[in-house]
């Protein structure tokens, strides 16, 4: 929460001070293209290259950001070429893919960038003709002198336009949204034709002359130190060029390990089996999932630290007509983006060049500089298309490794992690445990909500991605509320997984909310609608009215409560507000006698503001988030002796084709500026499915992963 807020303000400041927009004539060698601004290069043939400033990780930024610029420039989409910008925050402001912030932070600035380029082209036409600026309009990649109808192509004006001083962005008029011709139209992914032909555009596809391949072998136990490792055998293995030991510097970066360099990645990967490293693994030995659970169960009996409190929780519980209590449990998860972590690095006397799939290129460059002890200006990071991110590539540890290995190897290096490396060395979504209590008053209204959450700590502070203070609906609308926190110290690195914190907390609170509705004898949708009507909410950024609309709409689309379902089937609902997006979702599940479950269909209604910029990409994100969320309900990472037990996809069940549900996704628009869609559709689907399983079977799901055996066992008891 804090991270995204801070990033937003930084960007706001950059924009307020005039977006850092470079201008000037920079004509390329062939003298056929003119760099109009840092974002816009106009070729003489009228094609325009537009920069996408942020990493592309599958969220569609590379297509969507240029749409905003092209809209204000009145560019025909077919004439637009797109390139990924250099990683250069001085020119482009913060560049990252995280927090669903790309839309939020760039909706206005990218339109201003487009409007500025358009203004400069018009100014060039005005200069040329002596006619006043306001005598010109633009359409179809041309400046039009309105009185005479005379047209000038952008290509013909670009060289003159580039000499004109830039306008002040804040004063530029932007297009009336009613006149949008691109925003709101579906534009297919710009790189997609290359992808279906198998062109080498991903990070892992990088090659350089003289490049060698590397693996980097670390202890699977976090915090372990390398004592010694005999390298004789590995150096003699076929295809191996070299092997050496590196000392760790930073748990966000380089850790103790052994680099193996070879002529092909597979030779390096095969040779690593010759290594018999001796590790000091004492630091991690205590870290064990079963021990964590035992600790959590003890901790919730204690006092903990009260993080949020309103009214009198104890008094209201004592006075409630009915109380209920439940313990919820959520596991650690791995990110497993489809493209394993990799990075290509070249270290020369002049500096370091990095090619990587990353969500965080700016901070990656800084990490490389720190790791090698060189000036940050000496590091150039090239953003390559990422085969998924899901938050894992906010960390750039593989970048630090590749740079350190390349420095020592004396040749360009491509480091590729195996999938086993990727899982063993993840920055995991932390697990959490929650003791919940609620009280219902004599009128069937929720009078008190009390939650004691146990989460993980690193160095005495709540670990990365482990906050338990979410935006859940129940805490926002309950008169007596208390949130208590207890911490379990851990050395296991944790991080941000798609919809961080919300992806765990939504399941907990929105499932318990369903328990409350049932305990109050009310329909879960009606119960929520009544609360939303009654409470304005006490968080400035949460608007209960927007949530009410999406909930009412999804209930209608799903025919909630209208149809009698066959035995073993049920529907469940949940809502969640995260990353500025409002989502209400309904799942229809079918549960077999042996506990096997499948989500048959999902209805989702979201409100992310005034415009859906690129609908095809937007629906793809919602569909993917929902399926990702459902898939994650069967997965977990468990630890024994400080190491993850799971090693590859055979141990991590994920959504696959036969279980992929039908999805009816729909957007409502509202007055707020558009916000991001990489994450907010994910959190509510987990509780919607769990609540649907309750509706289908009467078994309440309070623990993930959701194992068929446990549902079957619950049935036998019930």
């Amino acid at each position: 929460m804090d991270t995204s807020r801070r990033l937003f303000l930084q960007a706001g400041a950059a924009v307020g001070g005039g977006l850092m927009l470079g201008f000037g004539v920079r004509t390329d060698a062939a003298a056929t293209a003119v760099t109009l601004t840092d974002y816009v290069v106009v070729a003489a043939d009228g094609s325009v290259t537009v920069m996408a400033k942020n990493p592309e990780i599958g969220q569609g930024a590379k297509t969507m950001l240029p749409m905003l610029i092209a809209e204000e420039m009145d560019l025909p989409w077919s004439s637009v070429r797109i390139e990924t910008a250099a990683s250069d925050p001085k020119r482009y402001g913060p560049q990252f893919a995280g927090g669903s912030m790309t839309t939020t932070m760039n909706w206005l600035p990218m339109r201003q960038v487009g409007a500025a380029a358009r203004w400069m082209l018009i100014a060039a036409a005005a200069q040329k003709t002596g006619a006043p600026h306001d005598a010109f309009a633009t359409a179809d990649g041309q400046v039009i002198h309105t009185p005479s109808g005379k047209r000038f192509t952008y290509g013909a004006l670009a060289a003159d336009a580039a000499k004109i001083s830039p306008p002040k962005l804040d004063d530029l008029p932007l297009k009336d949204p009613k006149a949008f011709t691109l925003i709101g139209q579906s534009k297919a992914g710009y790189d997609s034709p290359k992808i279906v032909r198998g062109e080498p555009i991903f990070g892992i596809d990088m090659t350089l002359p003289g490049m060698v391949y590397a693996v980097y072998v670390k202890s699977p136990v976090y915090g372990a130190r390398l004592i010694s490792c005999d390298l004789t055998a590995v150096k003699a293995a076929r295809g191996v060029r070299d092997a050496f030991i590196l000392k760790g510097t930073d748990w966000h970066g380089l850790q103790d390990g052994i680099a193996v360099i070879a002529d092909s990645w597979w030779y390096a990967q095969t040779a690593r089996e010759q290594l018999k490293p001796v590790w000091d693994e004492a630091a991690g030995a205590a870290h064990d999932s079963l021990a964590y659970l035992e600790q959590a169960k003890q901790l919730v009996k204690g006092r903990g630290e009260v993080k949020l409190s309103r009214g009198d929780a104890d008094g209201a519980l004592a006075g409630a007509a009915k109380t209920l209590s439940a313990f919820y449990e959520v596991p650690f998860l791995a990110h497993v983006p489809m493209e394993p972590q990799n990075c290509t690095a070249r270290v020369t006397a002049d500096g370091v060049e990095i090619w990587a799939p990353t969500q965080n290129p700016n901070s990656g460059g800084e990490l490389v500089a720190r790791t090698l002890g060189i000036a940050p200006e000496k590091v150039v990071v090239h953003m390559r298309r990422s085969g998924g991110g899901f938050g894992r590539r906010l960390e750039n540890d593989y970048m630090a490794e590749a740079a350190a290995i390349a420095q020592k190897a004396g040749a360009p290096v491509k480091l590729v992690w195996s999938r086993e490396d990727d899982i063993a060395y993840d920055y995991f979504r932390p697990g959490c445990y929650h003791q919940l209590r609620a009280g219902i008053d004599g009128d069937g209204r929720l009078s008190v909500y009390d939650c004691h959450s146990v989460t993980f700590a690193r160095d005495g502070k709540v670990a990365q991605g482990a906050s338990i203070e979410g935006n859940a609906f129940a805490p926002l609308v309950t008169p007596n509320f208390r949130l208590t926190q207890s911490l379990i110290p851990s050395t296991v690195p944790t991080g941000y997984l798609r919809a961080p914190t919300s992806n765990a907390i939504a399941f907990v609170h929105e499932s318990f909310w369903d328990e409350i509705a049932h305990a109050a004898g009310q329909d879960p949708v009606a119960f929520r609608l009544a609360q939303l009507d009654a409470h304005a909410g006490d968080k400035a950024d949460y608007n209960p009215g927007r949530m009410r609309r999406v909930l009412a709409a999804v209930a209608e689309r799903a025919n909630w409560g209208q149809a009698a379902l066959p035995k073993g089937e049920g529907m469940g609902v949940a809502t969640y507000f995260s990353h500025r997006g409002y989502f209400a979702e309904i799942a229809h599940v079918r549960v077999a006698d042996d506990g096997q479950w499948r989500v048959v269909k999902v209805w989702a209604v979201g409100d992310v503001g005034s415009h859906i910029i690129n609908p095809t990409g937007a629906y793809n994100q919602v569909e993917g988030s929902i399926m990702d969320g459902i898939g994650s309900m069967e997965a977990s990472i468990t630890f024994e002796k400080g190491r993850a037990v799971q090693t590859n996809f055979q141990d991590i069940p994920m959504m696959r084709m036969p279980k992929a549900p039908q999805i009816d996704a729909h957007f409502l628009t509202s007055d707020s500026p558009p916000t991001g869609l990489g994450e907010p559709a994910l959190p509510p689907i987990l509780p919607a499915v769990a609540n649907a399983i309750f509706a289908a079977t009467g078994i309440r799901i309070r623990k993930l992963p959701l194992l068929p055996e446990e549902i079957a066992a619950g049935r036998r008891v019930a």
């Binding site: 990780i57 599958g58 969220q59 579906s186 297919a188 992914g189 790189d191 997609s192 034709p193 992808i195 279906v196 032909r197 198998g198 062109e199 080498p200 991903f202 892992i204 596809d205 090659t207 391949y213 076929r238 092909s264 990645w265 597979w266 497993v336 983006p337 489809m338 493209e339 394993p340 298309r385 990422s386 085969g387 998924g388 991110g389 899901f390 590729v416 195996s418 999938r419 048959v600 269909k601 990409g617 793809n620 994100q621 569909e623 993917g624 929902i626 399926m627 990702d628 898939g631 590859n648 996809f649 055979q650 994920m654 959504m655 696959r656 084709m657 036969p658 992929a660 039908q662 999805i663």
Partner: protein, 158 residues
Amino acid sequence: MLTLNINGKPRQLDVLEDMPLLWALRDVLDLKGTKFGCGVAQCGACTVHVDGEATRACVTPVGTVLDAKITTIEGVAASPQGKALQAAWLDLDVMQCGYCQAGQIMTAAALLARTPKPDDTAIDDAMEGNLCRCATYKRIRAAIKTASGQSADDRREA
């Protein structure tokens, strides 16, 4: 020296016979469309055709396919199914990150060569081994149906 027949052309390479086809393609022959996802036949990112059969290149030693016709994503457009699938993938804007999609298209092309109009069950069975971490399954299903001249609707439920 070994010789492999890839996308209709003989390609020579100097590797030992136990090198998996995936790494021979990617690191030795510079055909990077075939992707590495798991290395243990669990994700399908590395799918190629070996004599028309969808095959996981990560667990296929080159020595076992010396006499075979190998097709990779770079050559799939030579078949009518491959071409139709590429077009449907673009029309329906299937991709998110796109990393799995070469493998998805290769598996789907082998399916269509065998079953020209697969129903939902046939699609489920054929595609189950191909993981899409971005979970573009709805569009993959629709694109396979479109490419095979069927209505794109998911008919698994009424």
